[in-house]
């Protein structure tokens, strides 16, 4: 059995205007349009990403605020709008929305507990050969350090819809990390309890926990591990990164004793660190490993080749899992 690989194409968000805002092709744009129909407080804002909101702008032209290529201003403007009762959704390229605006997110939004939502398109390595300036691989580490901010990384389009619905009514800030390369995981819109991970598959030999594109990879890898190696994997969709599912980590680490985390983020500061901290805090004995990006200068290339290079494929996850299981 060969492992499926992610689409080799680069994601071109500027061409979203040619698409309808369909759930499959533009889930975050679809979701915010649906939510806005039921809540007049919802506004959308972008720093030159208006094409991702074509349908929203058609339905609610007066509720769309374009701020040009000025991300830091857009976050502080959103904070001002939120302080006056609005629910602004900022659609931004993840590297610029989170890293460039880290201080505005902290000082203006998080410290003031304001309900600003940052939708980070093109997270991880999604912008591939555009270069490392366009990578968002430290964003989770930054966002989850913000005391009052909810951080979610949906697994696929249905997961985006579910988590955007689930977080729409929160009083505080939310970061929604969109994985452009995610394979479909859910046939229907899944339910997430706040801060809870979804248990997708039961197994006693090794835990595979991922967020975003890592969920699809974990599921594919679990199939391969069972079919080709007779290894039963416990698989989790770890979409909630803050708050996260401490009980699930304790349960699965106790059950399998081996936890592999899968994420298109550097190996420190994200899901891998969340699991390691939790395992240590509960004094569990478990082997830990991660399929993630190294804490070094990263290569540049189209996403599919980068994922292959860094082992963020089903095959790469299988290899890491076998190392972990076989010691």
């Amino acid at each position: 059995m060969t492992s499926p690989t992610p689409t080799p194409k680069m994601v071109d968000v500027f061409s979203d205007i040619d698409r309808d805002t369909a759930l499959k092709s533009n889930p975050s744009g679809y979701a915010v349009t649906e939510l806005a129909a039921g809540d007049p407080r919802i506004l959308t804002m972008t720093a030159d990403l208006s094409n991702t909101l074509a349908e929203f702008r058609e339905h609610f032209p007066e509720r769309y605020v374009e701020l040009g290529i000025a991300e830091t201003n857009s976050v502080s403007v959103a904070a001002g709008l939120a302080a006056c009762g609005y629910l602004p959704y900022i659609f931004s390229m993840a590297p610029f929305g989170v890293l460039k605006c880290a201080e505005q997110l902290r000082t203006d939004v998080d410290y003031n507990h304001l309900p600003v939502r940052l939708v980070g398109r093109l997270s991880g390595l999604a912008m591939g050969y555009f270069g490392t300036s366009h990578y968002a691989v430290e964003d989770i580490a930054i966002a989850r350090m913000l005391a009052n901010t909810t951080v979610v990384a949906p697994a696929d389009a249905n997961s985006v819809l579910s988590l955007m619905r689930a977080t729409a009514g929160l009083d505080g800030p939310v970061y929604i990390r969109i994985a452009e390369a995610a394979e479909q995981v859910y046939d229907e819109v899944p339910e997430y309890g706040r801060g809870q991970w979804r248990h997708l598959r039961q197994g006693g030999d090794v835990t595979l926990a991922g967020h975003g594109m890592g969920v699809g990879l974990a599921r594919q890898a679990a199939d391969i591990l069972q079919a080709e190696h007779g290894i039963e994997a416990d698989v989790y969709d770890a979409a909630y990164l803050k708050p996260y599912d401490e009980a699930a980590i304790v349960a699965t680490a106790s059950r399998t004793g081996k936890v592999l985390t899968i994420e298109d983020h550097i190996g420190t500061g994200g899901l891998g660190t969340i699991v390691a901290e939790t395992v240590a805090r509960h004094r569990l004995t478990a082997g830990l490993a991660s399929a993630a990006l190294p804490d070094t200068d990263l290569e540049v290339g189209v996403p599919a080749e980068l994922y292959e290079h860094y082992g963020l494929t089903a095959g790469g996850v299988v290899a890491r899992a076998l190392q972990l299981v076989q010691g």
Binding site: S76, G80, Q104
Partner: protein, 290 residues
Amino acid sequence: MLNDIGSATLERGRAVTDAELERKADWIRLQTVELIAQAGLGHYSSTFSSAEIVATLYYHTLRLRPGEPRWPDRDRFLLGKGHVATGLWPVLADLGYYPRDWLKQFGKVGSPLNDHPNMRLAPGIDFSSGSLGHNLSVGTGMALAARLSGHDYRTFVLTGDGELQEGQVWEAVMAASHYKLGNLVAIVDANGFSGSGPTSAAMNIEPLAARFDAFGWLVREIDGHDIPALRQTFGTLPEIESQQPVCVIARTEKGHGVEMMEKQPQAWHLGLLTHEQQADVVAEISGRMR
């Protein structure tokens, strides 16, 4: 009457004499000296340069309801140069936003009142500040919110002149003009100094009027210690439908009102007066107020 307390609305353009506003500005200076002595360190000279501006806004210009600090129709005031909050705390207590007793806790652990303002802790603070360059963007958001929601409040943002070196300020200046926010007023406390020296020696910000004008703002340039000029300017702002944000460049003197600080404004950007110095400063200011 200067101090209406309770749920009453303080309307715009209240009746107050120039002499009363001048006394309020000096009272702000005296209170600032006391609060800094209590905390052990503080921003004297920047607070003194903005004293007449703050006094005029709070006792004449702004539409407020101290008994209902989150009243949706209140005019907003954002302290971009958050390090002068020490001068604002006694004003908010005086207007009835919180008991005067709160001032005794200024700077202590657990106090809602600190060197920079926190909107979650202190009633009457419309937005937190401290990181320079953010509040004109926040004010742009509030002005947009007023337009979207059909409210007629104005948003005033007091910035320092050194703060204008922050790039984000100019992103906001551009956005406010793009969205024709006639309900937004930026006031520049142009005292000519930043923390470590003359503002434009570090990075030239002039010509300020021409710069704001070029960005599409209506510019008024006045003496920021001239109470009649401040009152006239704030009392005759164009209608909020005017489609043009307003920038009031208030030319001020850092340390104004205390001779030793006027002579050495930079030395008193952040500091603590000795007991002897404090007695002299209090005598100088009080002498004027008699």
